[in-house]
Amino acid sequence: MRPRRPGAARENLAGWLFVAPVVIVLGLFMLAPILMAMWVSLTDWNGQGSPFRSGVPFVGLDNYSRLFTEEGLARQDFMTSVRNNVYYVAIVVPAQTVLALGLALIVNARLLRGKTFFRAAFFFPSVTSSVAISVVFLFVFANSGAVNGLLALLGVDGPQWFADSRGVLHLLLGAAGLVDPAAPPQALTTGGPFGLSWWEWLSGPSMAMTTIIMLVVWTTSGTFMLMFLAALQDIPVSLEEAAMLDGAGRWGVFRHVTLPLLRPTLFLVVTLGLIATWQVFDQIYVMSQGNPAKTTLTPAYLSYETAFGGFEYGTGTAISFVLFAIIVALTLVQRWVLRERRS
């Protein structure tokens, strides 16, 4: 260890003084509530008075084990919500990233006319209130709404979007003739991890969930388009021109010059997408409240419902901490996948 520079202590103190406002605000409004919630998740607090009194029963990890190891409604609901959210994330994150990148490339194209118009149009859904847009979607996807009207023009009898709890994957498997959704094979319906059968795990998003997926992809791609656009405009034109002079085609330039330079933005967009999609709440709250048949239940909504609906604040907060762990774990995995590979 090197000897301390004279005056370092004072510098240190000054540094802490300067960041103190932020540290205090973050500590008071972020860290302290999180720690308090963590305590609540270890208790059987019933919502009466403070959870930090002596009479509040401490139950250790019971609230967590109810979500994972104990057979019962709590685990079933939680696992159903996780299943729904996994399908939701698996579709929304890639779709919105690709769409956002595509839109950004279009808007960034040097030859496009009316660039400002398109930029505004693509960005518009992102700045509109998610509640307002959700309500509009309720009308658009109503049984006699615009979407089913269009489908009827094509001679398709549209589904009852928000009342349809059938899983898309089930329907596809049925359409392919692999299984009969009305009588799934015995091997799939008996047994499966965490209290749900394999058949239930393999349902895919329900029709109701797909409408929410469409909504979210549409509204968020605008924001991410803006991020990609900023990154694209940072890429020096000379680089792309140099690659073209070296004989690279348009695809080659995109694949080997543009995309690698976009990697930090890609990481940002995918991370933000992952976090936001695992926390989806307001669309569910406005549009479906977990219905039909719990196929739009998500952990964030279930946590709210369990705490404020069922007065089981302990289980509710436990769900949110599990959700937190899932998000952190997935972000780490994704960071590892997108790491810079240098040999």
Partner: protein, 417 residues
């Protein structure tokens, strides 16, 4: 240098967090029991939180509260809640609940079981005057807790125009399950959807009552979902749905039965007396009549929904609060509320005055004699939500499986086997 700085930083942030936590916990988090004063002297200031159905109710309650406050020499602040349940939850957690608040019968057992409510109903004059079904809804462990504010029951609503279009007359209004089926077939033959039926226990449960069943025992201690009566009821509803004699509102592009009915998408619906206001506001041209629900194999049955005036166990003004509730539940005050926002008085002594003034509502009031209140047991919220989910899939899931599932979940929630 580097590792040392990092450790200092970590230590500092932990210290900061601890400091903040202790600061935050310094006050208000260690309230010993017994600290809340039983009675505070001086003029009382009552905080009243209501889950209002709309402007009319808010105005009427505010007016009644001011009249009481002026007479009692106290003040009363009426606040309509945006989300009553969540606001109450926060108030209880923060140890600062309102003195008087609405308690829905569905939530009652949850509140009573954690000791949030003052069991004052015995101190109200003539508690036996409240309908027995309403008293049962607000009784926990044998104690009648709070005075019912008003109530609603389900009845059969019939669209006059669609009825005559199918060539039916007043004599055809179904009074039994068999008649409901046969009338439904006639309507269907005329190209009319017969019945819009809400897809929850709050509507389909009426059929269970008509068959002589219910989800829990009367004392709310045992699960009785898996019974032949309930099975019979669900089988019957399932046939109605499968034959398209009944359809869920979502299948008719409506949010609830009343909307489907108002839009003329079904000739009948099963709803409570709130449908009057809704139809008047949104579909004023629909002509309809109200009838008692068709009787099942075990006779007549309907469901009642009610709210009581809860008084917080922590209120410093309990006496004034009770006097306030007393004033609100007087028969003539209940009639004033009935005129203002169309609710039914919870006192039997107000029944004749009510039916004299609103003769068309007689079927709703008569339902009180054989109505079943909501499931009166704590921790049942997720179980009942799960049952509703099952009912949504009633056509594809066997009723027996569904009932066994509710039975198992209810037993787990009630802690019995």
């Amino acid at each position: 240098m580097m590792p040392r700085t990092r450790r200092t930083a970590a230590l500092c942030s932990v210290a900061c967090a601890c400091l903040l936590l202790t600061a935050a916990c310094g006050r208000g988090f260690d309230d010993a029991p017994g600290q809340t004063a039983q009675q505070t002297s001086g003029p009382a200031g009552l905080d009243i939180l209501i889950g209002s159905s709309g402007e009319a109710e808010t105005a009427a309650v505010k007016q009644a509260a001011q009249a009481w406050a002026a007479a009692a020499g106290a003040t009363a602040t009426v606040t309509p809640a945006q989300d009553l349940q969540q606001q109450l939850g926060q108030a209880f957690a923060g140890d600062d609940p309102p003195d008087v608040f609405y308690v829905d019968a569905v939530r009652f057992a949850d509140y009573a079981s954690v000791g949030a409510l003052e069991p004052y109903a015995g101190k109200i004059s003539r508690p036996d005057d409240f309908y027995p079904t309403l008293r049962a809804a607000f009784t926990y462990n044998g104690t009648f807790y709070c005075a019912p504010k008003d109530f609603s029951t389900l009845a059969l609503i019939v669209n006059q125009d669609l009825w005559s279009k199918a060539g039916l007359t007043a004599a055809d209004v179904p009074t039994t399950w068999e008649q409901l089926t046969s009338v439904g077939e006639k309507l269907q033959a005329a190209g009319i959807t017969p019945l819009a039926l809400g897809d929850t226990r709050d509507r389909i449960g009426a059929f269970m009552v008509q068959a002589g069943g219910w989800l829990t025992s009367p004392d709310g201690k045992r699960a009785t979902a898996d019974s032949p009566q309930n099975l019979q009821a669900l089988e019957y509803v399932r046939t109605l749905l499968a034959d398209r004699l009944a359809r869920y509102p979502s299948q008719l592009d409506a949010g609830w039965g009343g909307e489907a009915f108002g839009k003329g998408k079904a000739a009948m619906t099963i709803e409570g007396n709130w449908i009057k206001g809704a139809l008047k506001a949104d579909f004023p041209d629909v002509k309809y009549t109200v009838h008692e629900l068709p009787a099942g194999p075990e006779g007549k049955g309907t469901l009642s929904f009610t709210t009581c005036w809860g008084i917080s166990a922590k209120s410093p003004y309990k006496q004034q609060a009770i006097s306030f509730v007393e004033a609100m539940t007087k028969a003539d005050q209940q009639m004033a509320f009935a005129r203002a926002f169309g609710v039914m008085p919870s006192r039997q002594s107000a029944k004749s005055a009510y039916t004299a003034e609103f003769p068309a509502d007689a079927p709703f009031v008569d339902g009180a004699a054989y109505a079943q209140g909501p499931v009166n047991a704590p921790k049942m919220d997720s179980v009942l939500a799960d049952f509703d989910t099952g009912l949504q899939q009633l056509t594809s899931v066997a009723p027996k499986t569904l009932l066994q599932r509710v039975q198992k979940n209810t037993q787990a929630a009630l802690g019995t086997s």
